[in-house]
Amino acid sequence: MPIHDLGYRPWNGEKCGRWLRPRFIAASGIALVWRRKWLRLMLMLAWLPIFVPAIGIFAFEYSSTEPQMLQFVGNLVGGPLQRPDLAMQLLADPDSARHEVWTLLIMAFFRYPQLSAMVLLVGLIAPMLISYDLRSRAYLMYFSRPLNVIDYMLGKASVVWFFLSMIVTLPALILYLIGVMLSPDLSVVQQTWDIPIRILSASVVLLVPTTIVAMCYSAHTSESRYASFSWFATWILGFVAYQILTFMGTNFGPRRRRGFVDGLLLESIDYDRWRLLSPYHALGKVQASIFGLDTTPGSVVPSVLLLIAVTIVGAWLVRRKILALLSI
């Protein structure tokens, strides 16, 4: 008998609030995922790309004392980031271009390295969240407690949100803080105060629909590899389909759409249409709009509606699946 065994003892403590309980599902999931070595390594590697925009912001702010730095930033903005107009503006009047340069650099960080890291991370974490519970019938354990399906989904989604925030939101906010600290004076805060809000909004747009889609795949199979496969297939096929269709539209589309003033508008509407096939491009469109950098003509509304629809339908499917399992 264990030395501390006192037999059964009643418990009369004070219980914590119900709204806190999804937190325990999340904490347990995070602890489980954190035990994986590859994930910790991946999180560290996902932070590396922060150096590129950090150097950009540093160079931009340093240009007030070292004007030759401005040329470097101009080359960066006009070259890889494809904004020659902004490059010209910042060479002419750096102060007026500060907000746009910062958001462009942070947006580029969101759009390219972090979105790819996000796809990889969600593809490795999210599929196992519900499918493992299906395999081991753990949902019976969860739902015999005072939890409802929404609490459960919230707890599971929070696991993904935590890790995504670690590689997307947190580095972007730190990047902003680095920018503020590198600035010659704190008046930059007046110019850029909205950037953290934009970062948080863009994070929500990135985190919520993607997590729901991944959970939806996970809820429909007890084999997490199938859910992973579906997740990666969605992104890869969508991306490839968009590239092919826009290439075909540009090179082999009706000639009347080219060379006219309104031809550009028609072509961009086509792009918008195909963008709905690709989660990568739909997310990019909405994020660019949130950062105020959407310079291409065409409405962001279809992409926003798509993301909202995906989120609602995905959440409904997960809920329906779990309720169906419980009724057996």
Binding site: R21, A138, L140, M141
Partner: protein, 305 residues
């Protein structure tokens, strides 16, 4: 503890529960029934895991089905299925269930250790649950059901997969929880000796309806006063004489007799007949119905109907 009226559950037109009305009082109640009789559906309905089509009542003083989340706070449920949270150790699983039932984080862990000690987990509590044997998983589910100190325990086949000594320990724990700590228990099982060992009352369900609700003591008492007679040697002459005197005799497979209706006050008649037929009676006791017989009779009667 549980009062339910007119509970109906239909699965795509098939009625799994047909107007179940029952009252479960404090104590340990056995829930019996053949496979597919609706026991698990009844339990899941009480916990709000499946939505019922009709019915209302109270469970642990809470409105059912309106307050199922409050009910789950006050009920410890041990599911029949093999279920566990993959990746966690035993102690983490129990602590998580404690937290989900409302215990704060640190208190949940402390309480989990306390319950693991009570369930005799030893160092096994630190192993991943996937590596547990069937018996260990049963104990784990029991610990999870108990960790938030609920006044009502609903245990679905708690002794399945346990070896005899573990089974004995499990039944002793359940009994202790009732006698020393006032817990009420609804024990769904197929293992009739378990029910006989610890239950005060019994519910027998057949084909989605409750057929029997009574205490074991009442159920064990035959409808007519009956005597159980153990005879040495040939009993055929005695049987014939008893029948001639208007009594019913049932010869059991081991040769013993069940004679009814025969009150204890009238056993002189039996002794007299035995003397007349030169039959030696080795043992004469008032007969009790066995639970097996009650169960089989109830199930078979319902099938005939």
């Amino acid at each position: 503890m549980i009062q339910v009226r007119n509970l109906v559950k239909r699965y795509r037109g098939v009625e799994a529960l047909r107007g179940v009305t029952l009252e479960v009082s404090d104590g340990i109640t056995g829930l019996l029934g053949p496979n597919g009789s609706g026991k698990s559906t009844l339990i899941k309905s009480l916990l709000g895991l499946v939505k019922t089509n009709e019915g209302q009542g109270t469970v642990v003083g809470k409105e059912w089905p309106g307050q199922v989340r409050e009910i789950r706070e006050l009920v410890g449920y041990l599911p029949e299925d093999d279920c566990y949270i993959a990746g966690l150790s035993g102690i983490e699983s129990v602590a998580l269930m404690a937290n989900l039932s409302g215990l704060p984080k640190t208190e949940g862990l402390r309480r989990a250790h306390e319950i693991c000690d009570f369930c005799d987990f030893g160092e096994e509590r630190y192993r991943p649950v996937e590596s547990y044997s069937t018996g260990m998983r049963q104990k784990l589910k029991f610990a999870q059901a108990l960790v938030h100190d609920p006044p009502l325990l609903i245990l679905d086949e708690p002794t399945t997969g346990l070896d005899p000594s573990q089974r004995e320990s499990m039944l002793r724990r359940i009994r202790t929880l009732h006698t020393h700590y006032g817990k009420s228990v609804l024990l769904s099982t197929h293992i009739l000796p378990d029910v006989k060992a610890i239950c005060d009352s019994v519910i027998i369900m057949v084909a989605g309806t409750v057929k029997v609700v009574d205490t074991l003591e009442n159920l064990s008492r035959p409808i007519h006063p009956t005597q159980h007679v153990m005879v040495l040697g040939d009993s055929s002459r005695l049987v014939q004489r008893v029948r001639e005197n208007g009594l019913e005799v049932e010869v059991e497979c081991d040769g013993n007799l069940r004679i009814s209706p025969l009150e204890s006050q009238r056993v002189e008649l039996l002794w007299q007949l035995a003397a007349e037929t030169d039959t030696k009676i080795r043992r004469l006791v008032p007969a009790m119905n066995s639970l097996d017989k009650i169960f089989i009779d109830t199930a078979s009667l319902s099938e005939v109907r």
